[in-house]
């Protein structure tokens, strides 16, 4: 009987049957999940491992960072992205100088280094600026379009004279009242909040205008008008403008303020009161005595 043990002489063609393990391997490889794992998972793992191993060294990471930064800088420093100058529109010389002071830019500079929003906020924070928009114009020009605040009055604060706009925002300091004698003078606590009323009083002054020195907010509730000779017109809390109009009319009719009057008190609308100077009182008494 032939031996049951497999004896495979040299040169005899091998059995075409797959080996047990070969068969199992092929079946395993035909299993969809395993196949995906081998075809996708393992390569990803190997590549990921290589990358991780390579980047684990400090020098390699530095190299990548340097290369990235170099490329980025080179790109950003291209001529097309360079800003060469700043153009300011809508601002007078003083404000333009201020803007240049708060935006200390060194030209030329790359477009990418400019933080336009932050610069806009910096410029908008200037008191004289109502609104501002920044953009980089083609040709490398940083365009700053400014809307300036318009001063409507001079405000005397404890620390000095300031210009004020219609919203009550302090714009800038001035040295002397004479610098802006065209604007009315307003002072007192709470004057900025009631600015419209104060300006309205000025508007109805009419013939008294040359004599007006200023209006003072008293106790944050009512207005006093100061005339050049130190005369004072005390206006009521409610409806101060008609009260002042009455004083103006009274002055036109009877030259009230040409007389030696120190204070015209209009605080009680039904009973206007006049306070005269001491000298005038004395004189009046004398005259009265002589007449008696």
């Amino acid at each position: 009987m032939r031996s049951l043990k497999a004896q495979r002489p040299e040169g005899v063609r091998r059995d075409p049957a797959p080996s047990r393990w070969g068969y199992r391997y092929q079946r395993l490889m035909l299993t969809p999940g395993f196949r995906k794992l081998v075809k996708v998972g393992v390569p990803m793992l190997v590549v990921g491992g290589l990358i991780a191993g390579w980047t684990a060294r400090e020098a390699n990471r530095q190299m990548i960072a340097d290369a990235y930064n170099n490329t980025k800088t080179q790109l950003q420093q291209r001529d097309e992205f360079m800003v060469k100058m700043m153009a300011i529109d809508g601002a007078d010389d003083t404000l333009a100088t201020d803007i240049r002071t708060v935006l200390p830019l060194e030209f030329p500079q790359s477009n990418f280094d400019l933080d336009l929003e932050e610069m806009r906020q910096t410029v908008a924070a200037l008191p004289a600026v109502a609104d501002v928009s920044l953009r980089v114009r083609p040709g490398g020009v940083l365009q700053v379009n400014v809307t300036q605040r318009v001063p409507v009055a001079v405000f005397r604060a404890p620390e000095g004279l300031k210009l004020i706009d219609s919203e009550g925002v302090l714009i800038q300091n001035i040295i002397a009242r004479a610098d802006r004698s065209d604007l009315p003078l307003i002072t007192g606590d709470g004057a900025r909040e009631a600015l419209d009323e104060g300006l309205e009083i000025y508007r109805v002054a009419g013939p008294l205008m040359p004599r007006m020195r200023g209006v003072v907010r008293m106790g944050e509730r009512r207005w006093d008008v100061i005339l050049d000779s130190g005369q004072r017109i005390l206006l009521p809390t409610d409806n101060p403008v008609p009260a002042f109009e009455r004083v103006v009319a009274l002055n036109q009719a009877q030259d009230l303020l040409e007389r030696d009057v120190a204070v015209v008190d209009m605080r009680h609308p039904a009973r206007p009161t006049i306070r005269m100077n001491e000298q005038a009182v004395t004189n009046l008494r004398q005259i009265n005595a002589e007449q008696e």
């Binding site: 059995d15 075409p16 049957a17 797959p18 047990r20 068969y23 199992r24 092929q26 079946r27 035909l30 299993t31 969809p32």
Partner: protein, 444 residues
């Protein structure tokens, strides 16, 4: 019988699981070749007209996506003889088919041709419990069939109800829902040797595959190579394989008889090998190239070189005429066919309304066989080729593949077997917990 019932039901469940996954393999383990087909099920039929008339055998519900054949080793008479060799051959076939299909198969339906099949006709009779016949009644009548002594070491391979009769009306396809009092059934049971199935199971298990069904190859060949009319009116399919020749008789679309002759093409080859003094491989080659069963005058002059590989090339230059070859082959083929005739006569084939005989299998490719067969088996003989199924490679459409193709059709829509019906409750052991569960399920 209960073991068989359980194991067959387990196989049915496995087949269902395989259908769910959509891929199943067909393994035809024959004596001369092992064929493996990988089928993909795409769900219900795609090209049906929607009027309930599908394709004849449901063959359009699946598609062959892998096919491989390998020379069989270690199989004789359709029975596993050398386990390791067979296992390797199965591995070869399965691996090649998997490679072609590019999908992994876990479930396999196998057929076997050996194992000395025997057919039994059983009948059972019960009284219908309710007014109409229910599925439970069918289960009962099938369980009521008196099982003959099938002998020691044998196992049931098929047990198919082939006929139902209700009272005096016979020939019912499906008695369910019909009104009657007495239900009778005829069942065809086929048994094979236990050890053959065990070996086949073990062999498939060693290949990491799970068996999802098992069928007789004669039955499978009949499904694929008999046309519908023949199956309906009565026909016999002769599956001439390498080691054995299977016989299956169909009637009213059921197999009613099956048998096998333990002779086949391999015996023809060994006759040639002995008669011409050549190696078996050479004999096989001569048989396939020059073989025949009807000698003509021309064949006397056609000389065949039969120089065998003895190494003595100068001296060993024998030639034989084709007539001599035919003279060797013909007696053996006649012997096989006569043996088939005996089996058919024993089965009472002549009483069938139609006596069509279809020759298929690899052995049926011998030129002139139909002429010889018609002399022995009767006038109505034709050569059969398997039904065409989608995706089957051209190389696998020959008559040698009728069992494999038939097994595919069997996988697509298997015939009702005894174990497809629930066993009646009173047959369960008294303490069965299942019985309580069933009672609850039926009554609540």
């Amino acid at each position: 019988m209960r073991d068989l019932y359980q194991s067959q039901r387990a196989m049915r469940a496995m087949r269902q699981a395989a259908m769910q996954r959509g891929v199943i393999a067909i393994l035809d383990i024959g004596s001369s070749k092992i064929a493996c087909l990988v089928l993909r099920f795409d769900g219900p039929e795609q090209y049906s007209d929607g009027d309930g008339v599908g394709s004849m055998a449901g063959q359009s519900s699946f598609r062959v996506i892998g096919a491989a054949t390998t020379r069989s080793r270690g199989v004789r008479f359709g029975e596993v003889e050398a386990m390791a060799e067979t296992e390797r051959a199965v591995r070869t076939a399965v691996q090649a088919a998997q490679k072609m299909a590019n999908v992994r198969v876990d479930h396999v339906i196998a057929c076997l041709s050996g194992g000395r099949p025997r057919s039994y006709g059983l009948d059972g009779q019960v009284d219908v419990m309710g007014q109409t016949v229910t599925e439970g009644d069918i289960g009962r009548v099938l369980a009521e069939c008196e099982v003959p002594d099938i002998g020691e070491g044998r196992q049931v391979l098929h047990a198919q109800p082939i006929n139902f009769a209700l009272d005096h009306r016979s020939g019912l396809e499906d008695p369910r829902g019909q009104i009657g009092t007495t239900l009778t059934t005829d069942m065809h049971m086929m048994t094979v040797e236990d050890s053959i199935i065990e070996n086949l199971l073990y062999c498939i298990k060693r290949c990491d595959l799970e068996l999802a069904g098992i069928a007789s190859s004669a039955y499978a060949a009949g499904i694929s190579s008999l046309v519908e009319d023949e199956q309906e009116l009565g026909a016999a399919c002769i599956d001439m394989g390498g080691g054995s020749t299977g016989i299956s008789i169909f009637m009213r679309k059921h197999m009613i008889y099956s048998d096998a002759v333990r002779m086949g093409g391999d015996h023809v080859t060994s006759d040639i090998s002995m008669g011409l003094q050549v190696a078996p491989a050479m004999a096989e080659r001569i048989k396939t190239f020059y073989g025949g069963v009807l000698a003509t005058g021309m064949d006397d002059r056609e000389m065949i070189e039969v120089g065998s590989n003895t190494g003595d090339w100068e001296r060993d230059r024998r030639t034989v005429s084709r007539a001599e070859l035919i003279g060797i082959m013909r007696p053996r083929v006649e012997e096989i066919l006569e043996e088939v005739r005996v089996r058919l006569d024993a089965a009472g084939f002549e009483h069938l309304p139609s006596q069509q005989i279809v020759l298929t299998g690899g052995g049926s490719q011998i030129p002139g066989l139909d002429g010889l067969a018609s002399k022995i088996l009767g006038q109505q003989v034709r050569l059969g080729r398997p039904l065409r199924v989608q995706g089957l490679p051209q190389a696998a459409t020959g008559s040698a593949f009728s069992a494999a193709v038939g097994l595919s059709l069997f996988a697509a829509n298997p015939q009702d077997e005894w174990w497809d019906f629930d066993i009646p409750a009173e047959k369960y052991p008294a303490r069965s917990f299942k019985r309580a569960v069933r009672w609850f399920r039926e009554n609540w």
